[in-house]
């Protein structure tokens, strides 16, 4: 096993705590680092450049960048912990902690010897559009050949296999100013925004504030960069109205300055040291009056042959590793650049003791600033040259320098090969406009800066510093300070006098000339190895040209065809180069080629963080009735109805669902059942025009309903389709109580309020939801009258004195109650309403008092069977928004005399009058076999003409089954169904189409039990038996 030491670490400098040593393990090798390190800097300090393998060709890959834009350094953390293991972590963003375990992803069996690397030879057949072509060519080959192979080869890391044990928090916060990014511009903005009274949030993705000031040698007012940052940070921390959020990435920018940020709360602590109860991550939901985007810029690599080897690094990243982490990423250095600014990296590495072998500048004339300093330092500068290709496998060993021909193409042979272990590249800088673009802002291509810069904002915001394309440090600071003060002023606070502009020592940024691809001469395109554009998806310049050749000219098409920007880094280092190559290929200027859309999140967000505490029981509220605990104690199985938990059935020991439901059904038909009906929606309707209002919203007539009486009604939407049904009772002169279905309660309330407030504001009617004011218990069955008499002793609630469809005030089990005589079962039924908090007491009394009567709790399944036997519909089961009242056999509920009600006009449209509309009917198995539960057709089954399934498709569908149960009373399976022209076909035999063939069934009346309604007022025999 290789022994790693921190050979790459310089003896002094850097923002690390050398007094502490941290041990960590990478691919099984133990290594050392220091607090302040990232995994990336620690790996480089230990001389590790080979971090992983690429997705498609399994090429060795290292660290290209030092921040969130890095495409290659993906690792799997905590691979030994099946619950906490974390795939696709960027080594550049993983803070080093003691005991950290990280492994390369996408390698097998090991990163050094990966068997997938042979795929590199297959580039010609695995180029752009490979998947589409393979899938198109042969489905069999795709399913059995390529897909399994690709699935094994591709992908980043392994998902955890156990539930996430950690906590994830969410916070909603409002502020006057949100500053995104704590580099020089962001810090300057914060500094001028604080102490004004304005609420300021400063979010920084790094654990340290400072941004580029930590990665360059700069002086502000005589302070070093880090010292100036520390001084500003101290001032910010002293101000109570400022919230500093380090380790927090703003990942999304939405409407009206609503931004989402992910804070890594304890990710930087060893797993066993995170304080108990603290979340691992926190998602911040921020509404800001004004946003200052100081998100900086990303350096771009250059595109040339084999430009992806470990040891090829962005120039600015090398400076960051050197200055911030005191790591010298290589000793023999070549720089390949198209701009002046990158010369500073060569100078810095030179000063740190590295040997700078060559500076290869694609331009003929570098600018006068940094290049002159490099020349004065004696560095070898080759202007007008490019790098054609590189050598090396696990690490770069040399760079092949060549010249460009008259057409600007790289010559196919090397003029000089320079040995190196670090090849710095710089193609210029791209402002981080992701958030700006997400906010709806328009971008503008700037020819001088060779970059897209923010143009027109559509939200209340400002872009400052490198994010705005500003390069010089003094200007970044000035822009930030001005934007911070302006934001405070707009929020209505006084920013105070402006600070004097600080004295800044920084090099001149200089000039840049575009170089999108050091493209080899015509006919020699493959002379220099693969020119990678997107290091994560392995897209090459050839792929982009091929896409354009095949007709994919829109940048959005090229992106999808070549997968550029589809990796977990969203192409932060790749997109502009791809655009440049496409622009050259199509011979169109970049602004005409356009740019792809930036979409959230800026960097990946875990599902756990998005879910927050919306997991398990908190995912969705379970609404519980007042009687819930009694149902639990009785062993009920529950059914979700909307958000409600309703008892589904109450199995006794040894009973399955069918047995329990059959027992409950018999109890209601033969004795008395008790149902918790509290979940039905209830609306208190008051006002002089209440009857007129009901007349307009229900299809039937309401003006003559007497006080004390109850009526059933259905309501439609304007399209004439049934929307809800229920009973409404007249409570008083100007007062009604409407019930709605359980699932539709809120929708009905909204529907009614909408009409009152928008269409009929002249109606003097007011609505109040009383769903949860009352607990409702239904008693149903031939012995319900006896039980009711015991519960309400001294009051005559017998069917004779208390007629069907009326209600009474009564004292039931000592509780003030409203009792309704309605029936959803066909049996004698009372619905007892008591104040919610007394529901439990009522239920207890009923079960106690009714023991000898065989009182039996029944659930929704039994309720469904019993009502279906009677042909009663359930909205949402017999209806799906395409049934008129007539379709459901409810024509008798549609007033012919009312001039208008919601939906009336639609009911006379020709389509509503077609005789072949699907109509509600009953359905019985033709060959009745008692006790054979297979005769229960599956709900949703399609109904066809007999023998239709044997005919060639398409088979016309007559309709479908909406409800289907076993009926103990009928000793048979039965169903309700919607069948074309069904009411005229009663007695016909049709087929229920099932996967194993057709089953014959007979269409019948939907009312299959007690058609004459004799049981509604109590079955005299049953009552006698009970007595």
């Amino acid at each position: 096993m290789t022994e790693h030491t921190q050979d790459g670490r310089r003896p002094d400098g850097g923002l690390i705590d050398r007094s502490k040593r941290l041990r960590f393990r990478f691919n099984g090798h133990w290594m050392d680092g220091h607090p302040g390190d990232t995994l990336a800097s620690a790996l480089l300090a230990n001389g590790v450049h080979l971090v992983g393998r690429s997705m498609k060709y399994h090429r060795p890959r290292g660290l290209l960048a030092a921040g969130p834009e890095d495409p290659g350094g993906l690792v799997q953390l905590h691979g030994q912990d099946p619950a906490r293991t974390d795939p696709n972590c960027r080594a550049t963003q993983v803070p080093l902690v003691d005991g950290l375990e990280a492994d390369s992803v996408n390698v097998w069996p090991s990163v050094e010897r990966d068997l997938g690397a042979g795929l590199g030879a297959a580039e010609r057949i695995m180029g752009a559009g490979f998947y589409y072509k393979v899938m198109h060519g042969s489905q069999w080959m795709w399913q059995h050949g390529f897909e399994p192979l690709i699935r094994r080869a591709a992908g980043f890391g392994k998902a955890p296999t156990q539930p996430d044990p950690d906590r994830y928090d969410h916070r909603h916060v409002h502020c006057d100013v949100l500053i995104v990014g704590a580099g020089p511009a962001g810090l300057a903005a914060a500094q001028s925004a604080i102490c004004s009274g304005a609420r300021v949030i400063l979010a920084e993705q790094d654990e340290r504030l400072g941004g580029s000031l930590l990665a360059r040698d700069r002086r502000i007012d005589g302070w070093s960069g880090p010292d100036w940052v520390a001084a500003v940070e101290a001032r910010l921390r002293a101000c109570p109205a400022v919230r500093l959020l380090p380790r927090t990435t703003v990942t999304g920018y939405y409407d009206r300055n609503y931004l989402v940020a992910l804070e890594r709360v304890t990710d930087h602590l060893p797993l066993d040291q995170a304080p108990a109860g603290r979340p691992r991550q926190r998602l911040w939901h921020i509404r800001a009056a004004r946003v200052v985007l100081a998100t900086g810029a990303h350096e771009r690599p250059l595109v040339f042959g084999d430009n992806d080897r470990p040891g090829i690094m962005l120039a600015g990243a090398a400076q960051a590793y050197l200055h911030r982490w005191a790591v010298l990423p290589g000793r023999d250095v070549v720089l390949f650049t198209n701009n002046d600014a990158a010369y500073e990296a060569a100078l810095d590495l030179h000063a740190a003791g590295a040997s700078v072998r060559a500076i290869v500048d694609s331009r003929l004339e570098p600018g006068p600033g940094l290049p002159a300093r490099a020349r004065a330092a004696g560095l070898r500068i080759m202007t007008g040259y490019v790098i054609g290709g590189t050598t090396g496998t696990a690490r770069v060993t040399g760079a092949s320098v060549t010249k460009r021909d008259g057409a600007g193409r790289a010559l196919p042979h090397a003029l000089d090969t320079v040995a190196c272990d670090l090849l710095l590249v710089s193609g210029g800088w791209s402002p981080v406009v992701h958030l700006f673009s997400q906010s709806g802002g328009r971008l503008r291509y700037d020819d001088d800066r060779v970059a897209f810069v923010p143009d027109r904002a559509v939200q209340d915001q400002a872009c400052v510093g490198a994010c705005a394309g500003t390069v010089a440090l003094a200007e970044c600071l000035a822009e930030g300070a001005a934007a911070g003060a302006e934001a405070v002023r707009r929020a209505g606070f006084d920013p105070g006098p402006a600070r004097p502009a600080p004295a800044v020592v920084a090099p001149e940024p200089g000039t840049i000339a575009p170089l999108w691809w050091a493209r080899p001469a015509a006919g020699q395109e493959h002379a220099w190895g693969k020119p990678f554009v997107d290091f994560q998806t392995d897209t090459t310049a050839h792929d982009i040209r091929q896409a354009a050749r095949e007709g994919f000219e829109s940048v959005e098409h090229v992106k999808r065809y070549t997968l550029t920007g589809f990796g977990t880094d969203q192409g932060k280092t790749a997109n502009i180069n791809a655009l440049g190559i496409l622009s050259e290929t199509l011979n169109r200027p970049i602004p005409q080629v356009g740019t792809t859309t930036f979409r959230p999140p800026y960097t990946p967000v875990t599902f756990a963080a998005m879910a927050g505490r919306d997991r398990g029981d908190h995912l969705d509220p379970a609404r519980l009735t007042a009687i819930h605990d009694r149902h639990v104690a009785l062993g009920a199985e529950f059914e979700d109805v909307g958000q409600w938990k309703r008892p589904w059935y109450y199995p006794h020991a040894g009973e399955d669902m069918a047995a329990a439901v059959a027992r409950e059904c018999r109890a209601v038909r033969e004795a008395v059942g008790v149902l918790d009906a509290s979940t039905l929606g209830k609306i208190d309707i008051q006002g002089p025009d209440a009857a007129e209002f009901l007349n307009r919203v229900y299809t039937n007539a309401w003006k003559k309903l007497a006080i004390g009486r109850v009526r059933y009604g259905v309501m439609c939407r304007e399209d004439g389709m049934v929307f809800d049904d229920g009973t409404t009772a007249r409570i008083d002169q100007d007062r009604y109580l409407m019930t709605t279905t359980t699932g539709n309660a809120a929708a009905v309330m909204d529907h009614l309020e909408a009409y009152l407030q928008t269409e009929w504001p002249d109606l003097r009617v007011r609505l109040t939801s009383v769903t949860e004011q009352w607990a409702t218990v239904g008693l149903a069955g031939p012995r319900a009258g006896v039980l009711m008499a015991r519960l309400a002793s001294g009051q005559d609630l017998s069917p004779a004195a208390f007629p069907f469809l009326s209600w009474r005030l009564a004292v039931v089990a000592g509780l003030h109650a409203r009792v309704f005589r309605i029936s959803f079962t066909g049996e004698l039924q009372y619905e007892i309403n008591v104040p919610w908090h007394q529901g439990g007491a009522l239920w207890d009394a009923i079960l106690r008092v009714g023991v000898d009567l065989g009182v039996t709790p029944y659930g929704t399944e039994t309720m469904h069977v019993l009502r279906a036997e009677k042909g009663f519909i359930i909205v949402g089961q017999e209806t799906d928004g395409t049934q008129t009242p007539g379709d459901l056999g409810l024509d008798w509920l549609v007033s012919k005399t009312k001039p208008d009600f919601i939906g009336k006009r639609s009911l006379s449209r020709p389509d509503m009058l077609r005789p072949d509309r699907r109509q509600l009917v009953g359905l019985r198995p033709k060959d009745r076999r008692p006790k054979d539960s297979r005769q229960v057709f599956p709900e949703g089954s399609q109904i066809v003409e007999p023998g239709a399934a044997r005919r060639p498709p398409p088979v016309p569908m007559l309709g479908f089954i909406t409800s289907s149960y076993w009926s103990p009373a009928l000793d048979s399976g039965f169903a309700l169904a919607l069948v074309a022209g069904g009411r005229a076909r009663i007695g016909d035999t049709v087929s229920v189409a099932l996967p194993d063939g057709e089953r014959p069934a007979v269409i019948c009346d939907p009312v299959m039990y007690d058609k004459e309604g004799a049981r509604r007022d109590g079955h005299p025999d049953a009552a006698r038996r009970a007595a």
Binding site: D255, R256, G440, P761
Partner: protein
Amino acid sequence: MLLIECPWCGPREEPEFHYGGQAHVVRPADPAALSDADWAAYVFLRDNPKGVFAERWCHTAGCRRWFNVLRDTVSHRVLAVYRMGETAPAVDPALVEGAR
């Protein structure tokens, strides 16, 4: 996520509201007098403009009031809110992305 100014409760987040479609679509006083086509147009046909759109929202999780909103369908900016029965206020065209 939209931020909508409820005329009574002030700015609230979109999840507190219920969307009610195009505003100022008045229910015909005498539906029976309409042709099938005219009635179908009332029930089913709505505008879908790029730019300023008058639509109804209800502050369902708050004061339960319906009101009208002028929204830029391009930028999702809420340009104005006004109560039921009021006419739409004038909008500064400079604020409308959809007008560009």
